[in-house]
Point group: C3
Chain length 429, copies 3
């Protein structure tokens, strides 16, 4: 009975269109051109490498897309237990008519050839959106993205700010900033002015959020202009930058961005907890890990200082999820946001989502985002989430609390669809 | 079959009287007078505020109880997914004949009026106790509580000591202490003497426990009288107190309290992990959060120094629960105690209780306490716990380990009822 | 249906022989001689002590084995809920024809007498191995173990190195090292040479792994010979050793061991997170606990420096398991290894194993080891794991992901049996 109920709820949760509130889609090339765009996703290359395939093979110069897929398919067996592998199989079956359960050295080539043909349809990305029931996807735009050439109602701009906060010491970043804003970053005032220009540009082009990923040590605090000027002077002078000065600049830029979120009424997505380049010999995008010893208490000052800014927060490790639940339960400006990266697997999604659904107001939960680089991934990732959500609703709400199916489905619909519209629209300027 | 078995076990666990080993009941006014006493519980006001209701509205001067309930009922929809909301509905249905599933702008007023009438019965609190199957509830008494005017067999005194340990620098606390103990706190000796007076008073009035909540940074250690004298001198002199001196005083008072627990044979309830006033603009009692980076290793010295004192320990975050299980498995004087505050939701209760039931001796587990402010809350909170306990017993003991239902129910009865009597009576002087 | 499916999968997982990849078996006396060898296991003595039995009673001089079992049997009731108690009952039923569900003051003696007779069979240890379907067990050998007098194909040597890394300051350890290696440890060079001798001896005798348990504060880094010489000089001079010098020596020895693992192609089992002697009055082996605030980021430098060494990693607390999953997903040289000690209970095994099975390549998971001191424990411990594994495979792979039973059983077989052979054989010299 439980399994049937889960299926019924799942079917209902699959019957409406929605928006994916966080992706890395390139709006100018949103769908895959071939299977290499899919199997080349870092989730597969890093797992294949982890299972023994040399990085030099995976990233060999001159490897054609088809050769790359062949290489990864030949080395797919060790990862076929992973949920990530199941996403690939679901993509192959749902989009390309694949009828098998496993990707093998014997069947990859026909899948490759057939899928390439399917993907060559001029309206392929629209087909994918439609089949995935997506009416829009949030982007992750560099701060100097021109935001031109695409429909910002479907491909919704989002200002990604890691470079500004953590890499302003790099000349190339400052050059990009100068070019994008028409303002050279010399001191607190000019940095602030440059940031204003970026927000004007993004908001004029329909941006719905500002976003950043943060290391576990980050603990934002305000910086006076004088201190920011001094630290910026050191940083701009080049050479080695002390950790203290680097932190001052990061804090200043971060706080200034938050002030702009307040002014421009943009939610600020905080993705908390990643350490970059922990495994230096890893494949592209497969080098980052984390230290799970992080606490939202580090954000106490920020959350108190900006009651008018909504912070959809993602945490990297499941052990931080209870803090997220509690902070969202207490702070009006904290919203739980999806299941990020290393927590985006069923065990952790189920444990974390269940805790949220029973203790955070239903209006303050963004259930899921795909984090995808190519449109084809939304379907299996959201389906995975919907199955888990249906299980929680069936077992914890219908069975344990006596809710009607209809009411349970309403709750599911809210966290899957309605809240995205509310949270990211209510604050629009 | 599993659901039926859970129901059978639940029914058995609901068939006996028991004592609630930790509440915030006011013994002179134990039950609610109206729904505002129930819906005004901080669990609702803070969730309503979190979901968007202004604190100034919730805490507006001159708001009548009925107006307050109206306000909260109008703003109940965003929180109706929460387990806390389910407690309210269960109270309304079980105590006041409410027949609906949701509290709405349309039905709150009749519920209010009817419930006020029900609650006006002169024996209302006895009715609630009886229906809830409670024969007693532990209180949380200020150290200067006269403990007079109520039956201490039903309303069982418990000496709460946060003020003594953390706020002795406040003149008002020292004045209260002087008044309660007849001794002015000037130095180590006089503080010790004052505490002795408090213990004499509490134990003469049937106290069964000493209790305290502790911040995540606390790591108790003994303080020599000389060092305590010096720190007390600084603290009593007024003005700014250094963190070092404040810590010395806290450690001295805490260690002295523990010595008294040993002497007076009182268990010492430690509630570990809360940071106070993290969200300063929060509603009353809705400002506290935590840093989950805490370890019971901080209590190593204490637990070794006082083998004769029983420490029923509550932890605020589920991520600390495995440490609690392990410490209770190794240290004879550690008892697991309930599911506290932000861990008092089904996901965390289930995960944590299951781990305890399979690795901590059955005699060393206090299954649950309500932490309630008004008697009406024991029923839905304990029912929630009993449902989860029944699920664990059914799935992990009867199904997975082949236990008989009878034996599983015996285990449940122990952690629900018997251990409370044992742990808090065995050590009585 | 789910329960039937679990049973079917469990039966299949119980139908083949395998190797236990980590135990504390004494190869010269592998099985128990009487029930005291079983009930004297620290899991029982510490739980009985925790539940109130005095250490002085449990460890009384002159207590005969039978008296010891009587004492523990009389005090078994408080722990009979624990999973550890269920292991004992399963041993009694499976090996000694015990037909009851509980060990009581009335039935222990006949069990004792009968079991002693059964265990007196000259081939008892072979009987146990056969019934447990074990073809081999890894040992935990002191670095100066002669490794003589047993079949190293069944009792597989493993070089345990805690003493070398953390206790080289003790004269007795250096004497043992000198004797075992023929080299006196005076400086970096001689320590290195002594270690080389140990590895030669162990590898000549079929060792398959090097192993160590590590405190939560440990964060390995390389030490130059000059710095190692200076620290060793201080340490060898006797007297108090500074924490800094002790750490330098530990780091030097640890790094040198890892270099030898690379050279001799031995996997290095890291068991991360234990604090020794936290409860100083605890029973033998029942004094250790932990601080769960540990991160694998502490091993970043090591994991990057030794890509050619396989590190099967065990973590003590379940809250570190997600890091382990993520590090094994990214680093080719990290393998997840069993469920260690305080995490070896069903709640944590299920949560942790499920996360591994869905995100770590299936070739990089050592599902379980028994950690046993006597052979009889493999059967109930592995059965516990197999039941949980069967549940995960049934619910998460067959039901949730549509896998065939056959495919699910293949995955289970890999983590239970095949990977042990692969991981610990592939790297053999």
């Amino acid at each position: 009975m439980s399994l049937e109920l889960r299926q019924t709820i799942y079917d209902s949760l699959s019957s409406f269109d929605f928006v994916d509130p966080h992706t890395h889609i390139n709006a100018l090339q949103p769908a895959a051109k071939n299977l290499a765009d899919i199997l080349g996703y870092h989730y597969y290359t890093e797992l294949a490498h982890s299972a023994g395939l040399a990085r030099t093979q995976i990233e060999a110069d001159g490897l054609s897309p088809k050769e790359k897929v062949g290489l990864l398919a030949e080395n797919f067996a060790p990862l076929e237990n992973t949920i990530q592998a199941s996403w690939f199989i679901e993509i192959a079956r749902e989009f390309f008519g694949f009828t098998e359960d496993r990707l093998t050295p014997d069947n990859w080539e026909s899948l490759y050839d057939h899928s390439e043909q399917v993907m060559s349809a001029p309206d392929w990305s629209q087909q994918v959106l439609k089949k995935s029931r997506l009416t829009g996807v949030f982007l992750t735009n560099d701060f100097d993205d021109p935001l031109a050439g695409f429909d910002t109602n479907v491909y919704i701009p989002c200002l990604r700010t890691d470079d500004l906060v953590f890499h302003l010491s790099k000349p190339v970043v400052r050059e990009r900033l100068a070019k994008a804003s028409g303002t050279e970053a010399r001191n607190a005032t000019s940095v602030r002015n440059a940031i204003t220009k970026l927000f004007e540009h993004f908001c004029a082009n329909g941006a719905r959020a500002c976003a950043i990923s943060l290391p576990p040590t980050f603990a934002p605090e305000p910086v006076a202009d004088g201190a920011a000027d001094a630290a910026l002077a050191k940083v701009l002078a080049g050479g080695d930058v002390s950790a203290e000065h680097a932190r001052t600049v990061s804090n200043f830029v971060f706080w200034t961005l938050t002030q702009h979120c307040a002014e421009f009424r943009l939610p600020f997505d905080l993705m908390i907890g990643v350490n970059r380049a922990v495994y230096r010999e890893g494949v592209y995008q497969g080098q980052d890990l984390y230290d799970s010893r992080v606490s939202l208490i580090q954000y106490q000052r920020l959350l108190n200082a900006f009651p008018q800014v909504t912070f959809p927060i993602s945490v990297l490790a499941s052990v931080t999820n209870q803090e997220l639940v509690s902070y969202a339960w207490i702070f009006p400006n904290v919203v739980t946001n999806g299941h990020w990266w290393y927590s985006n697997t069923p065990t952790y999604i189920e444990h974390d989502a269940r805790a949220r659904l029973e203790a955070v107001p239903q209006t303050k939960q963004i259930g899921y985002y795909s984090d995808m680089y190519k449109l084809e991934f939304a379907l299996p990732k959201f389906n995975m989430y919907k199955r888990i959500l249906a299980k929680i609703l069936a077992e914890q709400f219908v069975q344990a609390r006596g809710w009607s199916e209809t009411r349970a489905i309403e709750l599911g619909t809210k966290v899957l669809r309605d809240n995205t519209a509310q949270v990211f629209a209510a604050n629009r300027s």
